[in-house]
């Protein structure tokens, strides 16, 4: 099974949370709340415990997002293979490793191929055309389109930035998920209208968990806030999809957009 299948039923919603934040059992509830809210895939910031993933009861596809040191350090032998093998065992379907550019990703790519997992790469506004080509050759599952450089600044022009980023990926067969600074259903809608196949949201959800810690809110309350936020974002993504002409692959037809 490929992560790409999470994008087949129309625009996908992909939330992110850190596994184990703020504690093990609350975090299990929070991740399951993302699933209840309608997540299609979940990016899990994974510190080091696979038993967490084994205990999770979710329908969404699970993607592990972590630093390369944790991936390459795990297990008895050096290199990423033991980590990938274990990840496959617990049902993780793919990886995003933000500090691993495509040039250094050979060993992880090989291990993912061996165990049938996907390896998504990030495309940034600063990514050059040469590098885009490298990424296109190695990426699988989905491509993570970083909508802008900093997390601050005007958010009004998000659809223009997204449109520009996606134009550069014209013709790529792989689903394109856009993330970075998206926090509302309205923004999710505009990102999908601009041509994204999916929307990735991290900090807006991490903030809800953070507020829960500060206000000492019960786990159930934080869970329902998370699920509510996910529903809002997912509805936005779907609204963006239905108001756009999309071809049979679920991708925007660029000729109709212009």
């Amino acid at each position: 099974m490929s992560l790409a299948s999470a994008f087949e039923g129309g625009p996908a919603f992909v939330p992110y949370l850190v596994a184990g934040d703020p504690d093990y059992s609350a975090s299990l509830s929070y991740v399951e709340a993302l699933d209840d809210g309608g997540a299609d895939a979940i990016e899990l910031g994974l510190p080091f415990y696979f038993e967490f993933v084994e205990e999770l009861d979710v329908d969404a596809s699970l993607v592990c997002m972590t630093y390369y040191n944790l991936v390459s350090r795990y297990g008895e032998s050096t290199g990423p293979r033991p980590f990938v093998e274990r990840a496959a065992e617990v049902g993780i379907e793919g990886f995003v490793v933000p500090d691993l550019p495509v040039e250094e990703a050979g060993p992880l790519r090989d291990a993912c191929d061996e165990f049938g997992l996907d390896l998504a790469f990030i495309v940034a506004p600063t990514t050059t055309d040469d590098r885009l080509q490298l990424i296109r050759e190695r990426v699988s599952g989905y491509v993570y389109v970083q909508a802008r450089l900093g997390t601050t600044g005007a958010r009004e022009d998000i659809s223009a930035q997204t449109g520009h980023s996606l134009e550069r990926l014209d013709g790529w067969e792989i689903p394109k998920a856009v993330g970075f600074g998206i926090g509302s259903g309205d923004q999710a809608e505009r990102v999908v209208q601009a041509g994204a196949d999916g929307v990735i949201v991290g900090s807006a959800l991490v903030e809800i968990v953070g507020e829960g810690i500060e206000t000492d809110a019960p786990t159930t309350e934080v869970s329902s806030r998370l699920a509510g936020k996910v529903r809002e974002l997912k509805a936005g993504a779907l609204a963006g999809g239905s108001s756009t002409n999309r071809n049979e692959h679920g991708r925007t037809d660029p000729t109709l957009e212009r």
């Binding site: 510190p47 080091f48 630093y67 390369y68 040191n69 944790l70 991936v71 390459s72 350090r73 795990y74 050096t78 933000p98 500090d99 691993l100 550019p101 040039e103 250094e104 790469f121 990030i122 495309v123 940034a124 506004p125 600063t126 990514t127 050059t128 590098r131 990424i135 970083q146 450089l149 900093g150 997390t151 601050t152």
Partner: protein, 417 residues
Amino acid sequence: MSTSKYGEYGGQYVPEALMPAIEELTDAYERYVLDNEDGFIDEFRRRMREFGGRPTPLQYADQLSERYGFDVYLKREDLLHGGAHKLNNALGQVLLAKYMGKDRIIAETGAGQHGTATAMAAAHLDMPCEIYMGETDVARQRPNVFRMRLNGADVTPVTAGRGTLKEAISETMRDWAGSVEETHYVIGSVVGPHPFPAMVRDFQALISEEARDQIRDRIGRVPDSVVACAGGGSNTMGAFQHFRDDEVDLYAVEAGGSSLTLDEEEGVAPNSASLSTGTDGVLHGARTKVLQDSDGQICESHSVSAGLDYAGVGPELAHLVEEGRVRAVTVDDTATLEAFHRLSREEGIIPALESAHALAFLDRAASGDADLGDEVVVNLSGRGDKDIETVLEETDRRDLSVAPDMSLFEELGGGSL
């Protein structure tokens, strides 16, 4: 072309958003630093003479030589402007940023030495400068914060984690990821993604370039060994670079702290000895030797010397140790304090606690732990005025035969300095 890998070590483990900046910097490094395009290196050397005070002397240490039975020569980087070797790198990178057309400088700092050097260089070259510093470090390094502010730099406290160097580096990386087009990140040591380790080494190599000429003028040959302290490893690589092809033993002296054993449960390494006790990992953009637990979580490091207190080390230095060209050794906090007092008392030089590690190894060698030969060059990487408060506190907790009696403070009724 420059190489990004040193055996198994090095590389470019950075977010995609930074890769173009890293490629741009690599190009600039090759053109300006390696090929002296537009006379970059000429200007760098001129400014290091006029603003920095280079060359620094190589001084014969009479008392230490007599004590140990071999000739000890001190490369006096403590006499460089700013009081440490840090300016070699900071001025080189700020000047490079200017040649690259960047209009803003950012840097991380731990104890504040790299931050103050960068702030000085930025003021000298008229560039706006922002320094990220962990809030814990801001609190315990107030004089350095003041110095940076005096030189016109903005100092931004970092509240994440323990509020020390590791978090400051991460925050500076984050700033850079959002501002790469107009901003240059002046990294403080031979660490990080390529081309930083090679570039910082080349700026710091002024140390061994001068020392090699100076020792040959003095004794007619190269020394038998060169000794330098190693945290991130910039003064180490700078002191070794021009001796690498000679028959000279190279010793990298790491901070052994209070113990060489890692506390796996607490995630604490009571030392900063990545070369001697670390394992292979990826930290801050490079594969290198890292202090980490078995899950790959980076440990807290510790040393009486804030400047050596870092969980990683430069990848090229890790490689040189791996292939046997450089010997990594450790001295603990107590031996370091003794060496600090000895140099202060016997030679009239107050060394930085970082540099005192290199000096402490002379004592160990003289008692039979290593054969340094007859002619030994020690890199005195910085002056110790910044460390006086720490030394008073740490000395108070120990019974050190070489330490001066400080009871006059008590008699006067005053507290600590």
